[in-house]
Symmetry: C2
Subunit: 325 residues, 2 copies
């Protein structure tokens, strides 16, 4: 056992911290989750991270020297050299915590940082829906839209670590306001948050829609789950909202194809739940707007790693950055 290589992954989220120890094939052997309690401030969260990490190593019956690398997946932007996370939206008053140094001094194990979207892209590439591929684009699709680009078998970070902001391709500069302050970004047109906003604006004018009934008249409860439920019941308004969102998604993916020529797109959360309600119109737009019709249309593939994508992402960051695959 002592000759086997182990990796430790830490996924820092706004609501939960997730820890895992895995082998070089990305098998999660030991796991631990704790609430982040972000409101208690970064000192407490960091202590929680250190304690939980130590606890997991103990639980796995390993000595730190058996762990090749600690991978940390965290909300971006993150400085991969220092582990400093810049103004993470779900970690208020995080400040400038040199988390890399703190972890390395405590455990004497090298620590590698990656923003969560890039880490998830790496995980799907190494262990998930992209295994065996060399060029792919991953899009998270939940409250926001993030992404990661794998180029010739490696994560592409760009000149300043800022590549892959795929939710912020602007399609309609005069369109709906995006969380980033600009208008008409892909994220403002087809993320879960965008869909909820569109529903809240449209539902009051469509008394024939069943959606308001599904939330007992409480308009603030309208969200993507309700949208999908109504669409499966053939609700016309729900179907038309999804058709339009799918069109924007397909347009954005066509532009990405004309730029990057990936083998596949791996799509997370919303795309998985919505299936063809979103993906059929997306494929229509993709095939209409793609430039080179002699290459195969890139497949739209659902992400595979599900609820544990955070843990897998952190492990993938550790493995990729130590070049052990």
């Amino acid at each position: 056992m002592s000759k086997q290589k182990f990796y430790l992954g830490i996924d820092i989220g706004g609501t939960k911290l997730a820890f895992a120890i895995a082998d070089a094939n990305g098998r999660l052997l030991h796991k631990l989750r704790r609430p982040t309690q972000a409101h208690l401030g970064s000192d407490t969260v960091v202590k929680n991270i250190l304690d939980s990490t130590a606890e997991l190593i103990k639980q796995a019956n390993l000595s730190p020297s058996q762990i090749v690398c600690i991978g940390v997946s965290c909300p971006g932007p993150v400085d991969c050299n220092t582990g400093e996370i810049h103004n993470p939206p779900n970690l208020p008053d995080w400040g400038s915590v040199p988390l890399k140094k703190i972890l390395e001094e405590q455990f004497r194990i090298p620590a590698k940082f990656e923003n969560d979207a890039n880490a998830a892209a790496l995980a799907e590439f190494l262990f998930g829906a992209g295994a065996g591929r060399k060029n792919l684009v991953y899009l998270t699709m939940s409250t926001g839209i993030g992404g990661g680009i794998i180029v010739d078998g490696r994560l592409y970070r760009g000149a300043h670590g800022s590549a892959g902001e795929l939710g912020h391709q602007i399609l309609l500069p005069d369109g709906p306001l995006c969380g980033c302050g600009r208008r008409g970004c892909l994220e403002a047109l087809c993320s879960g948050t965008a869909l909820a906003k569109i529903m809240k604006a449209k539902v009051p004018n469509h008394p024939d829609s069943i959606m308001l009934g599904l939330v007992g008249g409480k308009i603030e409860k309208l969200d993507a789950h309700i949208l999908l439920q109504a669409a499966r019941d053939d609700d016309k308004l729900a179907l038309s909202i999804l058709r339009k969102a799918g069109y924007y998604l397909g347009w954005g993916l066509a532009n990405l194809t004309n730029i990057l020529d990936p083998e596949i797109f791996i799509l997370g959360t919303l795309a998985i739940h919505a299936g063809d309600l979103l993906l059929a119109p997306a494929k229509d737009a993709l095939s209409k707007y793609i430039f080179n019709r002699k290459i195969p249309l890139p497949a739209l593939v659902p992400a595979k790693l599900g609820e544990e994508i955070g843990e897998y992402g952190a492990i993938a960051a550790a493995i990729e950055q130590t070049d052990c695959i």
Copy 2:
């Protein structure tokens, strides 16, 4: 001299064939140009290519064994494995010519093929405005808009050799018709051809513009040169057309920045001639639509290799693909 490495470049264009022999630093030591005479058919053009190549080698006083590699830059899409060029727009009835095999059998030198936009990107990266950079995006801007992407110091070709179709990022799906059959591609909004079309549509309704006078009333003679000449004379219509084209260019570059995070954009032909008439509004849109405001705004840099970009591109294709740099 016999220990020095030489490369031979062949640039196949619709109107001219350009040949060059260079050293490993990309210095063009011997050059030759011939008209393509595409109308005579591919057999004649191929014979012309073989004869001119032999002539240049002789002129350089080299034996073929002193040449490491032949690089060929040609209109895309090209099959880099066979040298077959698929339906080149300016080489009618080209058919499926196995040019790689023909060259290799004739000269006993390996031949490497690259489409002209990728080859030009490689050339600017190795010898031109991108020397010393690792991540850059190159955009040709003349009759059409083509491009090439350098990622971590290597040309990125994509899964099927079709990456970098940067002129076909669609911004306005209901906008002006593009040569590719779709609407509102970047190429349909700010290439030289697009500008000429816009001028022809707008000039008749603007009797105050000097442009029609500059072409002696012959509307079909309106082109980008006239546009720039009028703009430098403060012609309001000309300035507004360039401002709008620059806005679209900047929007497209902002999307590319959010996706690719390059250090610089290298822009060819039209951007060089127009300077700030086009680039100032482009920079405005770029800085407005960029997502991560903490990274430096990528610089818009004019291409450096000028009229000999074809020769440099062919040499760069030879050098890059033999991994000699």
